[in-house]
């Protein structure tokens, strides 16, 4: 993806008519011709200038449902049974994905399948796609009926793109494994290829069951409990009459333990003759009682324990779980871990375990489950999407306190500890990525958590409610939009930019050290307009964005209070004139220099003090002058006497001379 850098020619990607967008000099997108959504993402008509017969669609991921962070990597995956994504492009300022148009109807409209047709035309081709994904080290996470297309005849189905929406975000509940189902859709993360295998198995079971009844992406606790107690295979395919081979295949694919599922390679030649054996989850002969529930598996114990932490802590403290694990399940290593945690728990007096301890108990009981923190389940690699979802106006699909919980967990080091405990290897890299983003983004307050959305997903568009519809994912595009059509609202608490725009620009410029420089300002005593000007000036100079006359004109009227910092009227007037001149030339850097000049302000302040002192002195002098009587001092009087005497002497001499002469 073009990332956060300005393309050399800003207008290259956008023709004069903003409705026609040219991508990579060959794909011409017609933004006025909306096509039916593909993979849950808005689609538009597009023409390939080099190949007239290519049937393509242009996908435009909305701001609150962004493309996957690894979209450009995913676009490189090629498979004959995958609708190829040719380009993931950001040169127009927004993310556009050029993708093969689906041929045929989605499977949601064609649900009559025989077992052999299913194996040959659905499971094998999609397994081939998953094999390619697995080789690239990424996951698809969008295998569901409306994203698999049947060209008809005996041709294999084609899998739609998985990069245009957050992973597993739109998956109906029945296509998701337990480890993903526990989380809200935004918190599901990219998962593993075993999760894709589960989705494929669930798709097969759904098709064999005649389709119908797509569930909501959000699962209720009762449904989750049913899946935990009975097992996913039993819930999703137990009611179907299947041949033993297919039943065994589906049982393996729908295993709740990800390690028990077959790999895509195993499925490449899945047929009615190939035998799969599903490992059964270890289940205790004697159940353990937690709260009102009787559980026989560690997974069920972990899930119930998360809902009833006090009871779980009691069991751990009393060594009940340790004995149960050793004697009933033979899990001595887990039992030893429980003993250690039990000792920690007896030291603390609290009945309820602290969140990190509860997290450790759950991760030890079932390392395949997501991170549990104060009632919320999430995968570490989903934190960016959780941040995005938490900013959906009017409350998103995540609880309002979710960002706070994540920050708390990350600051307490829980992410790294979870990454050590979980069996999902990718979580370690994810935890380190999140920590790096927290560090680079200086995310120290819940209010700053929005920066994570941009730092963790380079294709995330600005989430400000003013411009979310524009899908502006490049910094220069936001600058251009601010410079052009945007009219600032009149609010005392914000300047030109709102919190999301600021976070977006800071995150996009974080490699140039913008966050270190500007991200930490508490903002007290500073006009928001000044801070916005400083940030925009930095963006302008660092990305050589050219004159931004529109932004300058929008900011200028709000800088008058800042000019009052200068007490000298001449200086102020001159600065005001310079400021207006800089604004007229669209030079934000110059404006920022003029308006934020602490040395000049300090000099002005000291000059002002000097002037005040002079004024006081002069006033005193004036008073003193008024008091002084115009009296002749004795010294002067004596002098005047001498003068008069001397004059008299002169007169006497003159008179004598006259007398002598006459």
């Amino acid at each position: 993806m073009a990332g956060d850098d300005f393309s050399p020619g800003i207008d290259d990607g956008r023709s004069a008519d903003s409705d026609r967008i040219t991508v990579e000099d060959r794909y011409v997108i017609d933004a006025t011709r909306r096509l039916p959504d593909l993979a849950g993402c808005p689609a538009y008509a597009v023409k390939d200038a080099l190949s007239a017969q290519a049937t393509l669609v242009a996908l435009a991921p909305p701001a609150f449902q962004p493309a996957r962070a690894e979209a450009s990597q995913m676009a490189r995956v090629r498979s004959p049974h995958l609708l190829a994504a040719h380009v993931v492009d950001e040169t127009s300022g927004s993310v556009w994905i050029i993708c093969d148009a689906p041929t045929g109807a989605p499977l949601s409209q064609n649900t009559a399948w025989s077992e052999s047709a299913l194996l040959e035309r659905v499971i094998q081709p999609i397994a081939a796609v998953l094999h390619a994904y697995n080789a690239a080290g990424i996951t698809h996470r969008a295998i569901r009926p409306d994203n698999v297309f049947d060209p008809g005849g005996r041709a294999p189905v084609k899998l739609g793109p998985g990069l245009a929406a957050p992973p597993a975000f739109l998956q109906p509940g029945q296509f998701e494994p337990l480890s993903s189902l526990l989380c809200s859709p935004a918190a599901r993360g990219a998962g593993t290829i075993a999760d894709d295998v589960f989705s494929l198995g669930a798709l097969a079971a759904w098709l064999l069951g005649g389709g119908g009844g797509l569930q909501s992406p959000i699962y209720s606790d009762a449904d989750i409990e049913e899946r935990i107690v009975r097992g996913s295979f039993d819930v999703l395919a137990g009611h179907l009459s299947l041949s033993p081979e297919v039943a065994a295949l589906l049982a393996a694919m729908l295993a709740d333990d990800p390690d028990a599922r077959p790999s895509p390679t195993d499925l490449l030649n899945a047929s009615e003759r190939k035998a799969f054996t599903a490992r059964k989850q270890v289940s205790a002969g004697a159940p353990i009682r937690i709260g009102s529930a009787q559980v026989r598996t560690t997974r069920a114990l972990a899930w119930h324990g998360a809902r009833n932490p006090v009871a779980l802590a009691n069991l751990v403290r009393r060594g009940v779980i340790e004995r149960w694990l050793t004697h009933e399940l033979g899990l001595t290593a887990v039992a030893a871990r429980m003993t250690a945690i039990g000792k920690e728990l007896t030291i603390t007096e609290d009945a309820a375990p602290s969140p990190p301890v509860l997290m450790e108990i759950i991760a030890a009981l079932d390392p395949g489950l997501p991170l549990h923190w104060q009632g919320e389940w999430f995968w570490v690699d989903a934190i960016g999407m959780i941040a995005t979802s938490s900013l959906v106006p009017g409350g998103g699909q995540v609880a309002p306190e979710f960002p706070r919980l994540i920050l708390e967990a990350a600051q307490g080091g829980a992410l790294l500890r979870f990454a050590q405990a979980t069996s999902i290897a990718s979580q370690n890299v994810a935890a380190q990525t999140v920590h790096a983003a927290l560090h680079h983004g200086r995310v120290e307050r819940v209010a700053d958590i929005g920066r994570l959305a941009y730092l963790l997903n380079p294709g995330q568009a600005c989430l400000s409610s003013d411009c979310a519809g524009k899908r502006l994912s490049a910094a220069w595009a936001l600058l251009q939009w601010l410079n052009g059509e945007f009219t600032p609202t009149n609010s005392a608490t914000r300047g030109l930019l709102d919190r999301q725009m600021t976070a977006f620009l800071l995150a996009r410029g974080h490699r140039s050290g913008l966050i270190e420089q500007l991200g930490n300002e508490s903002g007290d005593g500073h006009s928001p307009w000044l801070k916005d000007l400083a940030l925009l000036a930095q963006m302008q100079s660092r990305y050589q964005a050219g004159p931004l006359l529109g932004i300058a004109r929008k900011i200028l009227p709000h800088l008058t209070p800042a000019l009052k910092l200068w007490r000298n009227r001449t200086t102020r007037t001159r600065r005001g004139e310079n400021l207006a001149a800089a604004a007229e030339s669209g030079d934000l850097t110059r404006m920022a220099e003029i308006i934020a000049d602490p040395r000049s302000v300090a000099k002005d302040r000291s000059d002002w003090l000097v002037a005040q002192n002079e004024m006081r002195r002069l006033t005193q002098e004036q008073i003193d002058l008024g008091k002084k009587l115009p009296d002749v001092p004795p010294m002067l009087r004596a002098e005047m006497l001498q003068v008069a005497t001397a004059l008299g002497a002169l007169a006497a001499i003159g008179s004598l001379c006259l007398e002598v002469i006459s």
Partner: protein, 159 residues
């Protein structure tokens, strides 16, 4: 009795002797001098200051006015008749007496001039100060600094 007072006393005594001798041997001169110097003698007795500065100042003026009649008296060899004739001449008498007044007038005029020049200087100074004060108050704001109290506090939950 101090030495100075004794000397003063003896000097007075010598003065008295000298005056008596002058009256005896030079009656014309004495008469003319006493009458012409009358304002000075009166001033001498009315001047309370220590050094009789006023009298000393008026003395040269009186001399200037006295030189001409004294010369005439000298030419008539100090005759009492000439002295009386001169004293009868109003021009001589008024000139002598006014010259004492002229001395006093010169002093007062000098003092007045000094006073006026001082007043002029002080008002010039006053104008300068007023002008500078106006300059300063035109140039600078005097209200308390607007930003010192923290003008705009951004709201915490702004989105």
């Amino acid at each position: 009795m101090t030495v100075a007072a004794r000397v003063g006393h003896s000097m007075k005594w010598i003065h008295g002797l000298a005056c008596g001798a002058a009256l005896a041997w030079l009656p014309g001169y004495s008469l003319l001098v006493v009458i012409l110097f009358l304002p000075l003698i009166i001033a001498y007795f009315f001047d309370r200051s220590q050094d009789h500065a006023l009298v000393r100042m008026m003395l040269p003026y009186e001399f200037a006015a006295t030189i001409s009649p004294m010369h005439q008296l000298w030419l008539s060899e100090g005759a009492v008749d000439t002295a009386l004739r001169l004293l009868m001449d109003p021009v001589v008498l008024i000139t002598a007496w006014l010259s004492a007044g002229l001395g006093w007038f010169v002093l007062e005029a000098a003092l007045l001039v000094a006073k006026f020049s001082k007043q002029y200087k002080s008002s010039k100074e006053k104008n300068k100060i007023t002008r500078r004060l106006n300059e300063i108050s035109d140039e600078w704001d005097h209200d308390p600094l607007p930003f010192e109290g923290g003008e705009v506090k951004p709201e915490a939950g702004r989105r």
